[in-house]
Symmetry: C2
Subunit: 453 residues, 2 copies
C-alpha cells in the first residue's frame, strides 16, 4: 500500500471539528463524508456535542477506540498543532488540514505552518494542506471536500486526475466536470502544501490504475527542479495550468496560497521540456484532459487530420485552426473519396474539410467517418456537428459511439449550440467521446493528441 | 420605411413551396412563420394542397388576392427564377430564397444565380439568399428560419444583431444565445448574397433602434472596399469573425457559400482600421457582442481595471489576462481601501486583484464593488465569482443587478462552474449583465469595452 492511499481509501476517518452546523467547515466536511458511499468507520471529534448526525462524538483523537487512518482537521489555525501532535502520537497516517490562517496570512501564519512540519518530522504521518478544500476519489467514492452538498454534485468516475493549489479553482472545475459528465479519478486540493506537494502527487497518480491523465493547477512550485524531474519520469500525460504570469499578478498569489510564482517563461520552457502539455486557460486544462483521458496519442511530426462536418462554415473554421496549429489537412485516397461519394448528392465535392452538406443524415456521417478513419492518409479525425441540420437526428450519438468502439484511430467531436445540442451530446461524453464547443477548442485538443517526438 | 424593413415586419407573407411535410424546407419555414406571434396575412403557395395547417393554399404568387410584402421561396433551384419573376411582376418587395443549388455548386448554379440578379434589376424587389436559412426578428417576433421548431427555441429580444454568411454557423449561434438568455434584435442568414450583402445589412442595422451591437460571420466579402467604408461610417460597434484564413481552408469556403475569402491579413488590417472588433472564435464573437450590447465603451489609452473575486486563483488568472492584454491593474485610492477593509477579516490585504477570500458574503461583494466602481482610479471592474464559496448565497445576483442600476461605470462578471453556477447566473444575463466562463474570456471582453482612440 502506498503511504498516500490513506487519503483516498482509509479504513476509518476522524473529523476534528465536526459540527452539526452546516455553516461551519466541520459541518460540511462531516456531512460530505457521511454521504460518501464507502467510508469505513467515522468518528466526529467535538468537545461539546454528544452525537452528530446520529454518530457518537469523541472529545479528542487520543480518546478514540482505534487510531483512524485519516484525520481531517477543521479547527482554528492556532488549535491545529495540538491536534496534529495527537495524530502523530496515535499513528494517524493521513491528515487533511482544511483550516486556513497559515503561510498565506503573513509571518505569524508562516511560523504556525513551520510548526506543523516540525511535528510530523520523522513520523509516518503525512499532511495535505493546510488552507485546502480536501480530496475526492470518484472510484472509492470518498468525498472529504469543504463544498456545500446543496450546491455541488460530485463528478462521475473516470480517468482524469486533478490536483489544484487553489481550492476555489479546483472545486469550480469539479463542478464543471460534474455537469458535463466528464469522469474523474481523484481530486486533491493541496493548498499551502506544508508536506505533500505537486511532485509527490503526480508520481502517485502516475501509478494509480484508474488515472489516465493528470491535470495540475499551480501558482508556484515548491520544488521546481523535482517537479521537472518527475515530469520526465511519469508515463501518463500531464497538463499544467500556471497562474501568476506577471509581477503584478504573481504578487496576488503570495497572499492567496503563500507561494512565489517564479519566472513564467522559465517555467513554461521547463514544462515543455519535461513533456507536459501547457494549458493557457481553465477551459484548455479540462479540454486537453478529457482528450488525453479518452484517446491514445499519435506519434507524428506532420499529423494529418480529416475534418468532417455538415455545416460548411464550421469546416472552414476547423481547417483554419488545423493549419494555424501546424497540422495538415489529410489528402483522402481515391478509395476513400469513392466510398464517401456513394452517400452524397451528385453535385457534392469530396474535399477535406469534408462538407457532408446541410441535409446530411446520421447514416451519411457513419459512412464518411468510417471511410476517413480507415484511410491511411489520416492520423486523427475531427467531426464537427451542426445538430440543427434538417436530416440529422438523435441516431448520430449511436453512430459516433459505434465508430469509437470499432476504430483504434482517435477522433474528437465538436458542436456549437444550446439546449438541444447539449442534451444530444451529453450521451457522447458519458460514453467516453470528448465533446468540444468550438472549432478552435476541437482542433486545439486534437493537437494535444499528437506527440511530435 | 426602409426597403429592407419588409424582411422583418411585412404586412403579409407568401411561402412558395409551403408544405404539410415537416421533412421539407417549406414545411418547416411555414410552421415557423405560423408560430410567430406577429405575422400579418400568410399565404401558403402549393399547387397540390388545398390547405396547410388550416390555411388556404394558392397555386402561385400571381393568384393571391393581394401582393404580399415578403415572399419566401423554398422550391428547387431550377424553379426559383419563374417564382422570382412573378414576385417582381406583382411588386413583392422582399424575397428570401432558402433554396440551395446556386453559385456554391459550380458553373451551372452560378448561371442560375446570375439569372436571379437579372430578374430583379430595375425593380423594387430585393433578395436575401439564395442558399440561406432565413431571418428572425426578436422584437417583431417574425421567424422565417429553416430550423426545426422541435430542436430550436428562438432567443429572447435584446440588443445584439447577427448576420451570417453561413446558415449553420448563424443558427447554431442563435441556439446558443437562446439557451444562455442572451437577447437578440435581428438575425439574417444571407447565404450567397445575390443581392442584399453584409455592407447593406450593417448600414441598415446601424439605423435599427433595437440594435446595440452588430455581429458578422463572414467567409469572404462581396465588396471589400464598400464594407470597409461602411464600417467607418456606422456608429454602433461591429464585431467580425472571418473564416478561411489559409489557402487550404479558404478553398472549402468556395464550395460552401461560393465565396473567395481573400487575404486574411489584409482583411484583418482593414477591419481594425475601419473600427471593427475582430473575433477569432465563435465564442469571442458572442462574448464581445454581449459586452458591447450591454455596456458603454470607455475611452482610454491605458485602461485601469479593478478585479474583485472570492477565489484567489481566479483573481491571479484575471490579473494575468489584464496585464497580458495590455491593460493595467487599477491602484485603489486609500479611501477605497478603507471602505473595503471595513467588511473584511483583519488579516486580509486590500490589493488589486482584490481577494474577498473564500468566506465572502454577498454583502462583502456589494461593499467592495461599490467602492471599486466609485474609485476614480478604476475605469472598468471585473467580478469573478466562485459560487461554491461557503458564505456566498443567491443574494449575489441581486447585488450585481443593483450595482448595474446604480453605477454608470461598466463591469463584467465571470464565473467558472457547472449546474449550480449556471442557474445562479442565468438571472444576471437576463438582467443585462453579461457573464463569462473563464478569467480569459472575462478580461478579453473587458478589453473590447476599451476604445483606445
Amino acid at each position: 500500500m502506498h503511504p498516500l492511499d490513506a487519503f483516498f481509501r482509509p479504513g476509518s476517518i476522524a473529523v476534528v471539528g465536526a459540527s452539526p452546523d452546516m455553516g461551519k467547515i466541520g459541518g460540511i466536511v462531516f456531512k460530505n463524508i457521511m454521504g460518501s458511499s464507502a467510508r469505513g468507520n467515522i468518528y466526529p471529534i467535538n468537545t461539546h456535542e454528544k452525537t452528530i448526525l446520529g454518530i457518537k462524538c469523541f472529545p479528542s483523537i487520543d480518546c478514540l477506540p482505534h487510531s483512524p487512518d485519516l484525520a481531517i482537521i477543521a479547527v482554528h489555525a492556532e488549535a491545529v498543532s495540538d491536534v496534529l501532535r495527537q495524530c502523530v502520537k496515535t499513528g494517524v497516517r493521513a491528515v487533511i488540514i482544511i483550516s486556513a490562517g497559515f503561510r498565506e496570512t503573513g509571518l505569524e501564519g508562516k511560523m504556525l505552518e513551520q510548526d506543523l512540519k516540525e511535528i510530523i518530522k520523522g513520523s509516518k504521518t503525512r499532511i495535505i494542506g493546510p488552507n485546502c478544500m480536501g480530496c475526492f476519489d470518484a472510484h472509492s467514492k470518498l468525498n472529504t471536500l469543504f463544498v456545500s452538498p446543496k450546491k455541488f454534485q460530485v463528478p462521475s468516475p473516470g480517468g482524469i486526475a486533478l490536483i489544484s493549489q487553489s481550492g476555489a479553482v479546483g472545486t469550480a472545475i469539479l463542478e464543471y466536470m460534474s455537469s458535463k459528465f466528464i469522469g474523474i479519478s481523484k481530486f486533491v486540493s493541496y493548498g499551502n502544501r506544508a508536506d505533500v506537494d505537486e511532485t509527490e502527487l503526480i508520481k502517485y497518480l502516475d501509478a494509480d490504475k484508474k488515472t489516465k491523465a493528470i491535470l495540475c493547477y499551480v501558482e508556484g512550485l515548491k520544488q521546481g527542479r523535482e517537479f521537472y524531474n518527475a515530469l520526465k519520469i511519469v508515463k501518463k500525460p500531464v497538463v499544467v495550468l500556471k497562474a501568476g504570469k506577471y509581477e503584478g499578478s504573481a504578487k496576488a498569489a503570495i497572499s492567496h496560497t503563500g507561494s512565489m510564482t517564479g519566472d513564467y517563461a522559465v517555467f513554461a520552457a521547463a514544462m515543455k521540456q519535461g513533456g507536459a502539455t501547457f494549458a493557457k486557460t481553465i477551459e484548455e486544462l479540462t479540454d486537453f484532459g478529457k482528450a488525453l483521458a479518452c484517446c491514445k496519442r499519435v506519434r507524428s511530426r506532420a499529423p494529418k487530420i480529416g475534418i468532417i462536418t455538415n455545416g460548411g462554415g464550421f469546416g472552414v473554421m476547423c481547417a483554419d485552426m488545423c493549419i494555424g496549429g501546424g497540422m495538415h489537412l489529410a489528402e483522402f485516397s481515391s478509395e476513400t473519396r469513392e466510398k464517401i461519394k456513394k452517400s452524397m448528392p451528385e453535385f457534392a465535392e469530396i474535399n477535406n474539410p469534408l462538407d457532408l452538406i446541410g441535409d446530411a443524415t446520421s447514416d451519411r456521417f457513419a459512412a464518411a467517418l468510417d471511410a476517413v478513419l480507415l484511410d491511411k492518409n489520416t492520423d486523427i479525425a475531427a467531426v464537427f456537428l451542426w445538430t440543427l441540420g434538417i436530416s440529422l437526428d438523435e441516431k448520430i450519438a449511436g453512430v459516433l459511439i459505434s465508430a469509437k468502439q470499432r476504430h483504434k484511430k482517435p477522433f474528437l467531436v465538436g458542436s456549437f449550440g444550446g439546449n438541444y445540442t447539449g442534451k444530444l451530446l451529453i450521451k457522447l461524453e458519458e460514453a467516453g467521446i470528448p465533446i468540444y464547443h468550438t472549432p478552435r477548442r476541437t482542433m486545439k485538443a486534437i493537437k494535444v493528441l499528437v506527440k511530435s517526438e
